[in-house]
Symmetry: C2
Subunit: 152 residues, 2 copies
């Protein structure tokens, strides 16, 4: 079990730094929710030759419990096909920040949405936002993964 401590920020996709980032390598992620409830979500993901099953608990502040396990890719594909009503695609770009932190910049090609996520070692850790990061949406329900899924 790990603690996932994460902040989410919208980005200015017209900023030159964003455009440059879009020319770099990215991971193609396909994921779906097998089940979700008020207590959390069970998610399957396939990403560049790696597949995982994750159970995520309720978010409290910017933290939640996360249990993630590697599973065989054919299992993940079958779970996506059989048990997920929607498959979310996202292209994930990595953008290094100061202090060894990294922003995961997710572009959702199915909907008009880009979000940067920054995993932090503690809830108190601050990070310096680059100027092309705009509004923080960590606490905005419309950007919870469950609700993003509903837009697809």
């Amino acid at each position: 079990m790990a603690k996932e401590i994460e902040r989410k920020v919208l980005v200015n996709s017209r900023h030159p730094t964003f455009s440059k980032l879009m020319e770099t390598n990215y991971s193609k992620i396909r994921q779906g929710n097998i089940m979700s409830s008020p207590t959390g979500v069970v998610r399957v993901r396939v990403e560049d030759g790696f597949a995982s099953l994750a159970i995520k608990g309720v978010t409290t502040g910017i933290s939640r419990n996360e249990y993630e396990y590697e599973i065989p890719i054919p299992d993940a594909e079958q779970l996506l096909a059989d048990m997920c009503s929607k498959v979310i695609e996202k292209n994930r770009y990595l953008y290094p920040l100061r202090d060894g932190l990294v922003a995961e910049v997710d572009v959702f090609p199915q909907i008009d949405l880009c979000i940067a996520e920054v995993e932090l070692p503690s809830e108190e850790t601050e990070f310096e936002k680059p100027e092309w990061f705009t509004e923080e949406v960590s606490h905005d329900p419309q950007y919870f993964n469950n609700n993003i899924a509903k837009r697809i």
Copy 2:
């Protein structure tokens, strides 16, 4: 992914063979449903030094898709504590049948219930019921695991 093909039968707990079986070794199982929905169930189980996470699809006839993965025992314990509203205990005894088949005889100490489950290689496989097996309940919703959990 595996196909779970299983028949469930009630047993006569006053039969001498049952009493003898109760003197043999058994596995102590503790399990809980992390989530369940009309499409299936996500279950965590701890059993004699082994823990697993399973996703089970909808039962069609006596079959359903099953995805099961070993996970670390501390994770399973935490999932039981944090994400399962109920923890079901069952003591599992093994009773060999003919043709290499094995009945798993589950005794639920929290409720007055014993059930024998026989996993079969195909839906068509027949098995010879010992005389202390009574009514088949494979298709009776009150013996679906989800509904057994509600009695605890």
